[in-house]
């Protein structure tokens, strides 16, 4: 199972990198989304994938699952949700103000002389 997860995470990172290297702002944002998905899956895998009861609700189950990675992922998901939303709004505003979503035309070199 861990091996399979490793491949999935790798594919996610690969697609994220590809998307982030493109010029369109929207693709870049989708790329960051995929990147954080990959990171969250990695966190889940690193905590160990196994079946078991939730801890703290008794001592009768044969095995327990570590709840910490899930708590961490939930936190990380909420944060990346917020950041992605902010990024989308910002990209939209940028598109409105500057009239382009092409990163090549967003270079800028003020104060470079």
């Amino acid at each position: 199972m861990e091996i399979l997860m490793a491949f999935i995470i790798g594919i996610l990172f690969m697609s994220a990198t590809y998307l982030m290297l493109s010029k369109s702002l929207l693709r870049i944002i989708i790329g960051t989304g995929l990147l954080s998905h990959g990171a969250h899956l990695l966190l889940l895998t690193m905590g160990g994938l196994k079946r078991g009861a939730a801890p703290l609700l008794g001592e009768h189950a044969p095995s327990y699952t570590d709840p910490l990675p899930q708590a961490l992922i939930l936190t990380a998901i909420v944060i990346s949700f917020g950041v992605t939303a902010f990024f989308l709004v910002l990209a939209y505003r940028t598109y409105q103000e500057l009239g382009t979503d092409n990163m090549d035309r967003l270079r800028g070199n003020e104060g470079n002389d």
């Binding site: 895998t45 690193m46 990675p69 950041v83 505003r93 104060g111 002389d113």
Partner: protein, 497 residues
């Protein structure tokens, strides 16, 4: 009062929430923000004194025992940095009152400002590696708001890049924490340190080195070390002066602090590879920063490149890992936060008077604004490390530590960089203040006297910090002692170990 160490985080948090309610009332916002900033300064000063007398303060949030819940830890280093942060924030706030404009004030400027302080103080105080990530994100979210607020074209364009870089580094942070958790199975920093020493008894396993380098990349992206500082000059150029001062003084320093914390608490068993890498990168950071600072003819850019140089100097001290160099690093870190904030504010005043930050278009300011000129001069001397001032003491200790640890290249580069830093800052002074005075179009509308309050406060503190180093030094050496001996930290947090 066991909750004392959370007050510098809690006060700005509550005031930030209140400021959202008060969004439409500018004067009320200023009062709330000012009062809370002042309270934060007072309580963090008391916290420093408490740590000095009673030792390291810890707080187990929600009353969970130490390695299981989130622990906040205030050792001397974090207490001092929290105090400096609060002072810098207070100064930037006073400066904002007169310069930021009603438009931004109505769009949650002060609320974002307060949340930024929450994030920075939290990152300095927390004793849990994932909680550090959360506080980083609080800090970054507010910094996104601050950098884009106002919505000018250059701000929009640069904040896109700024956010992209930080999103990537956040993802790397999560990955690094994931790897670390899979190896040590804990998130409490003190407990991580214990576990890593257990598995490193014979030799540090390769995976720990990998994680160390991963953390260096993550924090290096925030702290702007070579080669990860590429985003900084462009992004920091966009926002207005008080925000720039806040970013320049605080945000990169959080990255540096995190490197210091992880490299002295976790990864100190095998310094052969990781600390050598850190030292090399620090030296390259200084060199590249100096080249940038010398090459540009723009006030803001020159000072921005000086941030990068300072990061390099601090990291050279850190990579030597002797008690002297660690003390020097902490001393220089605090010095740099104070002086860099003052310099950015002064540069902001100059740019406001002249209507441009291009040095070739500014001359002869000292005729009309002697106070501004001489304050800038003192700030420049302090920054470069001319003897009675604070930069000197920090650099002496770093160089001394460097020689003790046989890190000759680092020491030599730090020494030479001071000369070039002085040159780059004097370039601003000579070109901007000397020469024939010139009339500037909007100069009358700039309330120079009122704007000067904040940088003058910072410079006075900076000068006292250097001249009165006799008084300051016991605090610094206590901070350095915790860094060079992780067991003090571990015992304070985990009690029974």
């Amino acid at each position: 009062m066991i909750n004392f160490l959370i007050l510098p985080i809690l006060i700005p948090l509550i005031s930030g929430v209140l400021l959202i309610f008060a969004a439409k009332h500018v004067m009320l916002q200023r009062w709330i923000a000012g009062l809370s900033a002042l309270l934060t300064v007072i309580f963090s000063a008391l916290l420093v004194q408490k740590v000095k007398t009673d030792g390291i303060q810890t707080l187990n949030l929600s009353n969970w025992e130490a390695p299981f819940g989130i622990t906040l830890v205030s050792d001397m280093m974090s207490a001092l940095l929290v105090l400096t942060t609060s002072i810098v924030a207070f100064a930037c706030l006073i400066y904002s009152f007169k310069s930021i404009g009603h438009e931004r004030e109505k769009y949650y400027y002060y609320a974002a400002f307060s949340f930024l302080i929450v994030g920075v103080n939290g990152a300095f105080t927390t004793g849990d590696i994932f909680n550090l990530f959360v506080f980083f994100e609080v800090m970054l979210m507010s910094s996104y708001v601050l950098i884009v607020l106002g919505g000018t074209k250059i701000q929009l364009r640069e904040s896109v890049k700024y956010i992209l870089v930080n999103v990537i580094s956040s993802a790397l942070f999560v990955i690094a924490v994931g790897f670390l958790y899979s190896v040590v199975g804990t998130l409490n920093m003190a407990h991580i340190s214990v576990r890593i020493s257990e598995i490193s008894e014979v030799a540090q396993p390769g995976i720990i080195t990998v994680i160390a380098v991963l953390f260096l990349i993550v924090f290096g992206l925030k702290g702007a070390i070579f080669p990860l500082y590429f985003w900084l000059p462009g992004s920091y150029y966009a926002p207005p002066a008080p925000v720039l001062a806040l970013f320049g003084a605080l945000l990169t320093k959080v990255g540096v602090y995190s490197i210091a914390r992880t490299y002295t608490l976790f990864f100190y068993h095998d310094t052969g590879f990781t600390h050598q890498l850190l030292s090399t990168l620090a030296i390259l950071t200084i060199i590249l920063g100096v080249i940038g600072a010398l090459a540009y003819w723009d006030i803001k850019k020159i000072v921005i490149y000086n941030i990068i140089i300072a990061v390099g100097v601090i990291l050279v001290g850190l990579s030597s890992m002797t008690p002297d160099s660690l003390a020097g690093s902490i001393f220089y870190l605090i010095h740099d936060m104070l002086v860099k904030a003052a310099l950015f504010l002064l540069a902001g005043i100059m740019a406001a008077i002249a209507g441009t930050s291009n040095l070739k278009k500014i001359t002869g300011l000292i005729k009309q604004y002697p106070g501004l000129g001489w304050t800038f001069f003192i700030a420049a001397l302090t920054l470069a490390g001319i003897p009675p001032f604070s930069g000197f003491i920090g650099k002496v200790l770093i160089v001394k530590g460097g020689f003790e640890a046989e890190n000759f290249w680092g020491a030599a580069i730090v020494l030479m960089s001071s000369l070039l830093v002085l040159f780059s800052i004097m370039k601003i002074f000579i070109n901007g203040f000397w020469g024939t005075p010139r009339a500037y179009k909007d100069a009358d509308q700039v309330p120079v006297g009122k704007l000067m309050i904040a940088p003058v406060i910072l410079i006075i503190l900076g000068v006292f910090y250097g001249v009165g180093s006799e008084f300051v030094f016991p605090y610094i050496s206590q901070a350095a002692e915790t860094l060079s001996n992780p067991n003090i930290y571990i015992e304070a947090v985990l009690k029974e170990y």
